[in-house]
Amino acid sequence: MKKAEKILLIEDEKNIILGVKTCLEVADYAVVVVEDGEKALDVAIKERPDLILLDLMLPKVNGFQICQQLKVMEETRHIPIVVLTAKTAEEDKERAMQAGADSYMTKPFRPEELWQEIKRFIG
């Protein structure tokens, strides 16, 4: 059997984690969750996920910076990043894309929309 693709979810809201993680698991993805933005880079390097789902509003560090750092580091720069955020302003989207995000999804979204977006990059 093919090894499940691994997705790293960087998110601090407990209920969103539950919803998104469950949604990914029923679609047979392996999911790793980091709630602490400061640890996100280390976990990304260690886990080498196939895709990263990134919330922009995290405590302590800001998601734009994490995005930028992930796209600079040799070990992680190739990993597609899908931003999941409640920020709907066009300037936030531009800022995220400039920071290297590959896609920008605004909350809320439905399970099928999330699967569809992920399939654009893996599987």
Partner: protein, 350 residues
């Protein structure tokens, strides 16, 4: 000091009188305060030497050159100045003063302090943006959960369960619309302070509004028809806001029109007014709701077209149209579709 001099000085607005070469003739106390000068010092000096305010100079030039009040927009009429270390906003207006013989002699400039309004507006914008943002996060987990349950991913579903999940999804969409409307409300403040009135093409505004909705209409097999006479005069309108109103009316119409129906957007003129109308073939609205649906936070019994069901959209439409000096109303009977009409002034050059 004469009686009139005292009134002049005590006015809460800053008042400045210049001649046709922009030399300062007089200014009142409030103007002295704003520009940090004393009237005795600056009388007879060119205004550009008194204050660094290029926006005001170009307005003065326009007034003198065309001998009429300058055409004011939100951008060119709001002057930001540092007054004793505080960032202040002033709304500027100018009037040419003409002698009995019809000769332009002076320009009267009035500056009203709108700093507090600006600050309140900013507070409101921030508040709505925060509320809207705070709605989105919980809605995500609700929609994710409901979606997966509906697909039977978590447990087998009874017909009743499915019905309830449909209701949850529908109400989530409704909350989301409300959150979107709040954001729009914060971005599109309809108060006169932020209206940018320009000469606007009705046809272009209609096309811009329909552009974003064409795909949705196609999907639902609803025909979008437009009718604009070729010789229609230009409107005097804030283009972004009128496009928003049209988009909102058409997207409401889409929501309440059945597959295979049609939506017609028309523009026509009568006298000094331009009328836009959006007609659908949907289920219509009972007459007792015709006024209520334009009110904020009113929940009618008619779930179909109540303000609650449609979010704050129609209430914001009303604010925007009224800020244009226009009116908005609906004509409809249950089962006969609905026509929403609003008016804006025709553009007139001086």
């Amino acid at each position: 000091m004469t009686f009139y001099q005292k009134i002049f000085d005590d006015l809460p607005e800053a008042v400045l009188l210049t001649d046709i070469t922009h030399k300062v003739v007089d200014l009142n106390q409030q103007a002295e305060f704003i520009f940090g000068v004393s009237s005795d010092q600056v009388r007879g000096q060119f205004f550009q030497e008194v204050a660094d305010a290029p926006q005001m100079i170009s307005l003065l030039e326009e007034t003198v050159m065309l001998c009429r009040p300058p055409r004011l927009t939100f951008e060119n009429s709001t002057i930001i100045r540092d007054v004793k270390g505080r960032k202040c906003f002033f709304k500027v207006s100018m009037v040419p003063l003409v002698t009995f013989e019809g000769e332009l002699q002076n320009v009267l400039t009035v500056m009203s302090d709108v700093t507090m309004l600006k600050e309140i507006e900013q507070l409101k914008t921030d508040f709505f943006a925060t509320v809207s943002h705070e709605f989105r996060t919980p809605l995500t987990s609700i929609l994710m959960g409901a979606g997966m349950m509906k697909m039977g991913q978590l447990a087998e579903l009874t017909p009743k369960g499915e019905e309830i999940l449909d209701a949850i999804e529908q109400d989530c969409s409704r909350l989301l619309r409300l959150a979107d409307n709040l954001l729009d409300l914060s971005r599109m403040e309809a108060g006169a302070i932020s209206m940018e009135m320009i000469e606007a093409d009705a046809e272009k505004m209609i096309q811009a509004a329909l552009g974003t909705l064409k795909l949705q209409a196609e999907k639902r097999e609803i025909e979008l028809i437009t009718s604009v006479p070729p010789d229609l005069p230009m409107a005097r309108a804030d283009v972004t806001k009128i496009i928003w109103v049209l988009t909102n009316l058409v997207s409401n119409a889409l929501r309440y029109t059945d597959r295979g129906g049609s939506i017609t957007v028309k523009a026509r003129s009568k006298g000094t007014r331009l009328f836009f109308s959006v007609t659908d073939t949907g289920k219509g609205i009972a007459s007792e709701h015709h006024e209520q649906i334009f009110e904020k936070f009113v929940q009618g019994e008619d779930q179909n077209y109540s303000s609650g069901g449609a979010g704050l959209g129609l209430a914001i439409c009303k604010d925007i149209v009224e800020a244009h000096g226009g009116e908005i109303w609906v004509e409809s009977e249950p089962g006969q579709g609905a026509t929403f009409t609003f008016s804006v002034p025709v553009f007139r050059d001086f």
